[in-house]
């Protein structure tokens, strides 16, 4: 396994950057709770620049993830991510299904011989880029995933960093996803998938903090 490069004033030790199964389980659990609590927020964001279903989609995914994890406790990180991926793919029903699904599926594969959190998140971000044929600055969830992957590789992730990434989508013109049909009119709104991704990484911070 590659050595973790800890630049600047590195507030987190080697140990904390290695993602442990218990943290990860907590992470996913917190994520599904946040999705449950914020259905209407996500739907409203998607109503402004999409088709208004992102909250409902992610709620369906969250329910499926919870049920799958309740049914079988995952043996390791790889299994946890795989279960998460499959539930998302099967139940979300919108673009976020294959996108989160691919992210977690690729992370599941990588987790077989990689536990470095920053690297895993980067693998997820790359999966989203591949599935969406997209990249940063297109006003999609990648605009949260990629900065977060960068921030994680530079040190511990903070809620401020996540929020900064999320807020950055507001000023962007969408060039992928449904919001891209609005062209310039997409400016001034947060990207819904970036908001759900912000919940994901807020959950990560909480899960790591709790340990």
């Amino acid at each position: 396994m590659a050595e973790r490069a800890c630049k600047n004033d590195c507030m987190v030790g080697e140990k904390k950057m290695k993602l442990e199964l218990t943290n990860a389980e907590q992470w996913i659990k917190l994520f599904t709770s946040k999705l449950d609590e914020n259905v209407s927020t996500l739907n409203e964001l998607d109503t402004a620049i999409g088709d208004g279903d992102h909250g409902t989609n992610m709620e369906r995914g969250a329910k499926a993830v919870k049920e799958a994890l309740d049914k079988q406790t995952p043996a390791d990180l790889s299994a946890l991510f795989k279960t998460t991926a499959f539930a998302m793919i099967q139940k979300v029903g919108g673009a976020s299904g294959p996108l989160y699904g691919t992210a977690f599926l690729d992370m599941s594969k990588a987790a077989k011989d990689e536990a470095d959190l920053a690297k895993l998140v980067q693998v997820g971000a790359d999966g989203i880029k591949r599935r969406g044929q997209s990249d940063v600055k297109m006003k999609t969830m990648i605009d949260v995933w990629q900065p977060v992957a960068d921030d994680l590789s530079a040190g511990p992730l903070t809620a401020d960093q996540v929020d900064q990434a999320l807020q950055s989508t507001k000023g962007m013109v969408a060039t992928k996803g449904r919001a891209s049909y609005l062209e310039e009119k997409s400016v001034g709104h947060l990207d819904p998938g970036s908001q759900s991704s912000a919940y994901l990484f807020d959950s990560l911070i909480e899960a790591l903090g709790e340990k």
């Binding site: 109503t47 088709d51 208004g52 279903d53 449904r178 049909y181 609005l182 062209e183 009119k185």
Partner: protein
């Protein structure tokens, strides 16, 4: 209401399905459709088209069609109507979705038509 959208398809199911799809992105638009023959078979019907326009609440109506006789019946209707109707020779599903998204936020017609240009295939 500023805009309305009319969908004309050979298939009653396509027509209704396009309405379902684009309504999600444009819940406040008036979207009406004419699908199939007057007997609900695959084909087209001037009467159904007339009704779709009669029922539409838009001041400016954007119209989309699939193939040959949908287009001809639509044009036949256009020769008879006083309504402000714009017919686009673009991909049916994709064109209607694009127009609906922009019409929902009351974009100028020129903006809508600029976006539709990329979808012209007829």
């Amino acid at each position: 209401m500023k805009y309305g959208i009319v969908i004309v398809s050979h298939s009653p199911k396509i027509a209704e399905g396009v309405k379902d799809l684009i309504s999600q992105a444009a819940p406040s638009l008036s979207i009406t459709y004419a699908g199939g023959t007057d007997e609900g078979k695959i084909g087209s019907s001037l009467e159904n088209i007339q009704k779709a326009f009669d029922d539409n609440q838009g001041q400016t109506i954007l119209a989309f069609y699939d193939l040959g006789s949908s287009k001809m019946n639509l044009e036949m209707f256009l020769e008879m109507t006083d309504k402000d109707v714009h017919k686009y020779d673009v991909a049916l599903v994709e064109g209607a979705y694009t127009a609906a998204t922009l019409a929902e936020i009351d974009s100028p017609l020129t903006t809508i038509e600029d976006s539709l240009k990329k979808l012209k295939i007829k």
